[in-house]
């Protein structure tokens, strides 16, 4: 083999490696800044107090943290059952049906809809009739994003269940619905849970769909029918504001957010396999 080809081969082995390092640089930078900038303001005050009036230093993001919990929780309440049920349809009844094929395809494609567009739809469907920004509107928007994702992850989870335990259930004189709920769902418990956790982590990090649905609130929300603060929107507002104190708080808020997302992801890894299924 001639020299030129050998050298080219060595160079082209190094270039992908270079790409890897280049891609990792922003990750390192972001993590570093998050930790360094975020930690300085992260204290008990930050986690438990409301924002102070404009210009006054101090205060916290307590309402935003709780607000995210509420909006994401409501979104889950709406989105998790629908997502799991439609996933069950796709795996157990809709493998070859027309409805099944369409839903499977659309669920994939819908995941690519820009989240700001989802916000517009939620605005039209919830905010306009209610004549008010609200936690419900924000939850509706997030649920719209959660459902297609959960549909597919649940379907994939159920498809991993082996046919022979379904047969066992049927041979025991059980109706199909009981085989699905009692056996298949139970066997696929872990991957379904994984899907739910990942979905929740994703929507917890969303900002755009909340900008004009849940809006924001510098105080505790009065009711779920009114505007509510969320961590992501608050980070955004503080980041683009001219006040340095708010900028610093944005980093702390971001650190809290990333910790939340990381915790959810960790929960997934820890509960990775059910005791009751075959290894």
């Amino acid at each position: 083999m001639n020299f030129r080809r050998k050298v080219l081969d060595k160079i082209m082995t190094l270039i992908p490696l270079l790409c890897v390092f280049t891609a990792i640089v922003p990750l390192v930078s972001i993590s570093g800044y998050l930790l360094y900038q975020g930690i300085s303001n992260l204290n008990w005050t930050f986690l438990t107090e409301l924002p102070k009036p404009v210009g006054e230093p101090g205060g916290g993001m307590a309402n935003s943290i709780v607000g995210t919990g509420i909006v994401v929780g409501l979104a889950g309440l709406l989105g998790i059952p629908i997502g799991i049920l439609s996933g069950i349809y796709l795996a157990e009844y809709g493998k070859t049906t027309c409805l099944g094929r369409m839903v499977r395809f659309l669920a994939d494609v819908l995941q690519g809809v820009p989240s700001i567009v989802i916000g517009i739809v939620a605005y039209a469907v919830v905010v306009v009739p209610m004549q008010s920004f609200s936690a419900y509107a924000g939850a509706f928007a997030l649920a719209m994003m959660l459902i297609p994702f959960l549909t597919r992850t649940t379907e994939e989870a159920l498809l991993t269940v082996e046919d022979n335990i379904k047969e066992a259930g049927l041979a025991l004189g059980q109706p199909y619905w009981r085989v699905v709920t009692g056996i298949v769902l139970r066997a696929a418990k872990a991957p379904i849970f994984t899907g739910v956790m990942l979905g929740i982590a994703r929507i917890a990090g969303e900002t755009a769909p909340l900008l004009f649905t849940a809006l924001n609130n510098r105080f505790w929300h009065q009711s779920l029918k009114g505007p509510i603060s969320t961590l992501t929107v608050q980070i955004y507002n503080y980041a683009i504001s001219p006040f340095q104190d708010w900028n610093e708080q944005a980093w702390s808020g971001a650190l809290v957010l990333i910790i939340l997302v990381t915790l959810l992801n960790l929960l997934v890894r820890l509960s990775s396999r059910s005791r009751y299924t075959q290894r």
Binding site: A168, L170, G173, R186, R275, R279
Partner: protein, 252 residues
């Protein structure tokens, strides 16, 4: 003469246009073990699965002829599959314990079949585990996941699970093919004790096993029932040349 548990009359089984089983007629006596043997693809498993209508799951499956259990054609319209499968239990080739604890494996189906109190369900489960010869090995760990058991133990659990529903007939589809010889022997002995209370129909990949445990044997080839006779007769004095070729190992 003992009763007939299953009466098969001119039964043909189709997958779409393909005739997998061709016009089989045979009567299975109750409280005995009847074995179905034959090379792979001969239709023995297909025939077995017709007995509890497990084949219904397959898309273009259809039957012609009559299959009577307890005097009723199980393929008549309006037949209740739930009741049928309570009467006719099944044990599969690969042990398939449910994703639950050992005790729940047995009580889960009972709940749907009307055994309301947990205490009653547990009592039935314990009885079944004893009959299946598994009680001594698991009585102190009933809440453990069933998948922790060995292959042979899992299969005995599946048998216990089936007999807990108090069936009349137990179908066994190559129940020992996934097990080691020691575990297989245990299952065979269990089969012999089961025939006192149940009618057993066994599909066996292994002729010697059929010869060891069954009272009557049916030999199938390419969907046809070639010969059906008391086991001793079939193996020592086969009437059809094809049967003789098979049992002497010329093919299959």
């Amino acid at each position: 003469m003992s009763e007939i548990a299953i009466n098969i009359k001119d039964l043909s089984i189709y997958y779409g246009d393909f005739e997998a089983v061709k016009s089989v007629t045979m009567a299975v006596p109750s409280k005995s073990i009847t074995a179905l043997i034959g090379p792979s693809g001969c239709g023995k498993s297909t025939l077995l699965r017709t007995l509890n209508r497990m084949n219904d799951r397959i898309a273009d499956f259809s039957v012609e002829g009559e299959l009577d259990i307890d005097g009723e054609n199980i393929y008549a319209p309006g037949v209740n599959l739930i009741d049928l499968r309570k009467k006719v239990g099944m044990v599969f080739q690969s042990p398939n314990p449910l994703p639950m604890s050992i005790i729940d494996n047995i009580t889960w189906a009972l709940k749907y079949h009307g055994v309301r109190r947990r205490r009653d369900r547990v009592e039935i489960a314990v009885e079944s585990l004893k009959k299946a010869g598994l009680w001594d090995e698991v009585h102190d760990r009933l809440k453990d996941p069933a998948v922790k058991l060995s292959g042979g133990q899992q299969q005995r659990l599946c048998i216990a699970r089936a007999i807990a529903l108090q069936p009349k007939i137990i179908l066994m589809d190559e129940p020992t093919s996934a097990l080691d010889p020691v575990a297989s022997r245990m299952i065979e002995e269990l089969m012999l004790s089961l025939k006192e209370d149940y009618t057993v129909v066994l599909v066996s990949h292994n002729m010697e096993q059929a010869a060891r445990v069954s009272d009557r044997t049916a030999f199938m080839l390419l969907g046809e029932l070639v010969e059906y006779a008391p086991t001793d007769e079939l193996f020592s004095n086969p009437k059809d040349q094809r049967t003789e070729d098979y049992i002497t190992g010329r093919f299959g």
